[in-house]
Subunit: 350 residues, 2 copies
């Protein structure tokens, strides 16, 4: 039975052991590259492994060794390019560390999140990376996954207060500093009437981004008109349709700090529909630096978050925790970088 022939039964250690007349223990040692085995024996065993087309059964090994070789990744929205890039980064780092990624999507539903966590936890991952669904709470998450498995929270903090014994690390973007930089940049270009556009006030990242904007405005002694603060879903479509709200009263803003790139691109669309040229008649900034940001018309000034890099970082933080299970809880705030492009022009009237 050579390696190109399909076999019915799965080949196990015992098959190999029997095939070259050694014990299972010896074969196991060969598989793990132990220096204990004789060179000659090793060669014979390796030949037999190839010959029978053996595949290692990691689940059985994990059971015996009481270890795990997987990391669970639970995302609120994989279809979002930001999270897709993030996932790619996580998977790369997880793979490099010899683990495998268990994926779960929650579609922004905390009910589904509980179900997904419950299902993944039964597969005994070494740790979990979770980007929580909107409105999911610490109690819910704890109930679904227990306190045994290390957790790294990404992107959002959880509602409710988490139990002190759960070692839950955190990795978030420096949202507040990001929008502060963007706002300061617009101010330095001469804008005085600056809006904050998009996002939902009940998400922690939106609150933080709004805070950065408000901070910069206040520091510059600039007043914020109520109609300059427009909420909308973080999608292009909704952003475009909310554009009118910015111009519903006077004074109209001459620039807007947008919740994220999708919103900013939608706002561009809405501006165009009103006959305004973004980057000439109206300045705006985004957040995320998604692939399209540099390719839009005009190219979008935004904050680069390097999602793939964040993915690697998240995985590495979790792996660190696995190595030191009782180390202090880490709160990591990833820097963001202002990418100045043409959308953040000076005011048209200036």
């Amino acid at each position: 039975m050579d390696s190109t022939t399909p076999v019915r039964r799965k080949i196990t250690l015992s098959d190999i052991a029997a095939g070259c007349d050694v014990s299972r223990a010896t074969v196991s040692l060969v598989l793990r590259g132990s220096p204990l085995v004789n060179k000659h024996t090793r060669a014979r065993v390796e030949e037999e492994l190839r010959r029978q087309g053996y595949v290692y059964n990691r689940a059985a090994a994990n059971l015996r060794r009481r270890t795990s070789s997987s990391i669970a990744l639970v995302l609120n929205d994989l279809a979002n390019p930001f999270f897709a890039e993030f996932a790619a980064g996580v998977d790369a780092a997880v793979g490099d560390a010899g683990f495998v990624t268990l994926l779960g999507c929650t579609s922004e539903s905390s009910t589904r999140e509980q179900a997904v966590l419950g299902s993944l936890i039964e597969h005994g991952p070494a740790g979990i990376i979770l980007s929580p669904a909107e409105g999911s709470s610490a109690q819910q998450v704890l109930a679904a996954m227990g306190a045994q498995t290390p957790l790294l929270l990404f992107n959002r903090e959880l509602g409710g207060n988490l139990p002190e014994y759960a070692h839950w690390d955190l990795l978030i973007l420096d949202n507040q500093r990001g929008t502060r930089l963007a706002t300061e940049h617009l101010i330095s270009r001469g804008h005085r009437h600056i809006a904050f556009f998009g996002g939902h006030r009940d998400s922690s990242s939106c609150r933080q981004r709004h805070a950065g904007y408000a901070e910069a405005m206040q520091a510059a002694g600039l007043r914020i008109e109520p109609h300059w603060q427009v909420e909308c879903a973080p999608t292009r479509l909704d952003a475009a349709s909310q554009t009118a709200a910015l111009f519903a009263a006077t004074p109209a803003p001459t620039a807007a700090v947008c919740y994220n790139d999708a919103v900013a691109l939608g706002l561009m669309l809405g501006l165009n529909q009103r006959g305004l040229h973004p980057g000439r008649d109206f300045a705006l900034t985004g957040f995320d630096d998604i692939a399209e940001a540099s390719m839009s018309m005009p190219p979008l000034t935004t904050l680069s978050t390097a999602p793939r890099e964040r993915g690697r970082q998240a995985a590495e933080l979790l792996l660190l925790r696995l190595r030191e299970p009782s180390a202090d809880t880490r709160r990591t705030i990833a820097p963001v970088k202002l990418m100045v492009r043409e959308s953040s022009c000076p005011p048209h009237t200036a």
Copy 2:
């Protein structure tokens, strides 16, 4: 020790059995909802499960039952929104079927693909969904994963000839019909000079899309000038920079069928840079109908592929195969739908 207290050792069946004075077998029956156990016993056991905060060890169960509860998903490029949506669809369907998704990204490298497959196969997935990296061959894939595990190929066919005993199903888009429809549409709008823009000729999907274009042109008795066929990487950036090639000789095309949406959006950019207004001075079509297609300026005429739906479909095809391991190999060609939008205007001169 109540459920909110962190525990050191993992709770097993035996702990529960000991805790309420029944045998392990009985607890196992309760866990699986067997009708054999007495109502009263069941209640006692369930109470104890809650009390000790038991988590099912699916790996151990799988070992004993010689089953698997995971599906591996191996993608050439997760950062691409098309595949991200696809992955979300796969994960949803896989989850609904009670399986869990094992993720692997190959970054379009067939070497990495082998490594990823080799690592995933050790976790014993019930089946694999693979969107092959460019240039990966049937022999390579077979060597990495063996012939035991059912495989569903998505999106691309493999180079080399696969062994007849491997039951490898296939799900691809109706690429050729898609571009044929797009080309016919442009012809019906009055275009005669139509280019095929973007993609690499060594990918099977690009060849199929080109074939659809050529078929429609030939059917309409239209000649194809050599400089109307421009290759470029399927990215906005490269597409934009290759725009000039279309106008390098006369007659210049008045329209282009693009390899995909990313290329089409890049071409729009390139046209703008040359002072041409896409959708007025030049018509173009894309492929994929990514989220931005309907939001671009002008909105892009393209072929809808419903990637999330394709993900569900892929998962379901694989699950079907699991149920009937020796059924005939299936080759599924998913329909695409022409979405007519403003980018496919009639010729400017007309």
